[in-house]
């Protein structure tokens, strides 16, 4: 099943969706396959990802992926937060995501990494 209960739940009631006032790091990118867009804003303190929020216009898998990613990454040292893998997310999403939708899972991952690498784009 593409849409696990966890994906449905996190799409309906995301826990880390929103924005941060004056974030320390942020990044935004699109999935060229479908035009989905996601932005992640981060607060950094003492070498750790102190807080983060995601927002954008994207599908249920992408929203759920961003949500479980931030849940896992917040509180972690930056080097660990930026080394999380697609495998980590798939496990947490409890879903068998097909190859055609795997970019929906990985987009938040590359956006978080972009933010932590210090990339910011003005769009």
């Amino acid at each position: 099943v593409v849409y696990s209960d966890l994906i449905r739940e996190r799409f309906r009631h995301p826990r880390y969706q929103g924005r941060l006032e004056r974030p320390d790091a942020a990044f935004e990118d699109v999935n060229p396959l479908c035009g989905d867009r996601i932005r992640i804003e981060c607060r950094i303190a003492d070498g750790r990802l102190a807080d983060a929020r995601h927002r954008g216009d994207s599908c249920a898998i992408c929203v759920a992926s961003a949500d479980v990613l931030l849940e896992r990454a917040i509180g972690e040292p930056l080097d660990l937060a930026s080394r999380l893998t697609t495998g980590d997310l798939l496990e947490r999403l409890e879903a068998d995501v097909r190859a055609s939708r795997i970019r929906c899972v990985t987009l938040p991952l590359t956006v978080l990494q972009g933010a932590l690498d210090g990339r910011e784009v003005a769009r």
Partner: protein, 406 residues
């Protein structure tokens, strides 16, 4: 094969497929159509009996292959109503056909020359012109889309100028379905001294064509959207215009005589077909246009208009559904783009797929149009000769369930 709809479904083996427990409802023909047995057998028969390289082999198979390849050109010429076989150039598809023109015409552009496109173009009729303009310091302008999804023809009139070298427009929009007013576009462009290229990817599969009467200088289309194989497409070019163009690409077959430092080009149409062409693709395309010809393109168009009308009526009544493009099926191609409130198009398509219904979702390679509409993407149902009213009903039934599906 007897007639459109139910009467020809038996010709398409893939329609017997069961997908996720349901018999396939294939409503994605605008992306790529399915193939009748006649096309599949023509291609495999060619490889089993006749294959050799064309034009250069003197042996029997070489002659047969050449005859099949050039016979395909004659069949396509007749199907689209071109004046002569020299006007039919085989390419890999619509994209390559447009790139071919963009390269040939692009080379002749001067700084400040202008190319006009529209906001509803598929990327394949936009990016090649962006590249040509960038290379030559030329200027790209776009006709706005207004109302239900029509070209702003007043704005077009204002954009045309003595500096306009070429106008590149979709015959039929792959998202809105709008059939653009090509007679007007061609007349006004020619009066301004500009060439006209029509992207016929969504036109040739669905409308009876008379390219000689239409008057466009170029018309590009793909085999795979009109029951033919992938990897074969056509660039129609008006002979007088083709005669004046330098070839885009060099290689074997496109020359008459070669010296170490120069060469003399071959005659039309081979001048634009370097290298070994997609012979099997042409054999398949010929079978496809013969198949469509037997069904009759007027009947095909009327069948698809009927399905489009039924689809618009059914979806319009479903709460939460937004439709894009003209509501009147009489002025619309065989596509219906829509969104369902609260459901991302990709999620919608995945849920429909669970019921064996194949539709397209996303930006449909028309991101400027998506930006114009203020959306990231849409769902899109599209129809071909083998689709039926029952499939439209099943689609509508499934769409009703989408709003609360996640």
């Amino acid at each position: 094969m007897s007639s459109v709809g139910e009467g020809c479904r038996a010709d398409f083996p893939i329609l017997q497929r069961v997908v996720n427990g349901s018999l396939l409802d294939y409503l994605d023909s605008a992306a790529s159509s399915q193939k009748p047995r006649q096309v599949i057998e023509a291609v495999s028969g060619y490889y089993e009996r006749n294959h050799a390289n064309v034009h250069r082999s003197i042996h029997t198979l070489g002659e047969e292959a050449t005859e099949l390849y050039e016979g395909g050109r004659d069949a396509v010429r007749a199907f689209v109503g071109a004046r002569s076989r020299e006007e039919i150039i085989f390419t890999r598809g619509t994209t390559e056909a447009i790139n071919l023109v963009a390269q040939c015409v692009g080379r002749t552009l001067q700084a400040r020359d202008e190319i006009i496109v529209t906001e509803m173009e598929h990327h394949s009729n936009l990016i090649p012109w962006q590249m040509a303009c960038r290379d030559r310091g030329a200027i790209l302008k776009a006709v706005p889309v207004i109302g239900e999804g029509f070209l702003d023809m007043e704005a077009f009139g204002r954009l045309l100028s003595p500096r306009t070298r070429l106008v590149a427009v979709a015959h039929v929009s792959n998202v809105l379905g709008t059939i653009n007013p090509v007679a007007d576009l061609v007349r006004q462009s020619h009066e301004a001294g500009a060439l006209v290229l029509l992207d016929g990817a969504q036109g040739a599969p669905h409308l009876a064509l008379d390219l000689a009467a239409m008057g466009a200088d170029f018309y590009a289309f793909s085999g795979h959207k009109m029951l033919g194989p992938t990897g074969i497409g056509v660039l129609y070019g008006r002979r007088e215009v083709l005669e004046e163009l330098e070839p885009a690409w060099g290689g074997g077959e496109m020359i008459k005589e070669v010296w170490i430092d120069h060469a003399q080009w071959n005659d039309l149409p081979w001048r634009f077909e370097p290298g070994t062409p997609p012979i099997a693709g042409v054999v398949g395309l010929r079978a496809a246009v013969e198949y469509l010809g037997k069904l009759g393109m007027e009947r095909v168009a009327s069948h698809e208009r009927d399905l489009t009308g039924r689809c618009l009526d059914a979806l319009e009544r479903i709460p939460g559904v937004t439709l894009y493009g003209p509501r009147n099926p009489e002025i619309k191609g065989a596509v219906v783009a829509f969104n369902v409130e609260g459901i991302h198009p990709h999620d919608g398509a995945a849920i429909l797929d669970e019921r064996g219904i194949a539709v397209r979702a996303g930006h449909h390679c028309a991101q400027p149009l998506m930006k114009r509409l203020g959306i990231a993407g849409t769902l899109r149902a599209s129809f071909s000769v083998y689709n039926t009213p029952a499939e439209v009903e099943r689609l509508a039934e499934a769409v009703k369930g989408l709003r609360g599906a996640l």
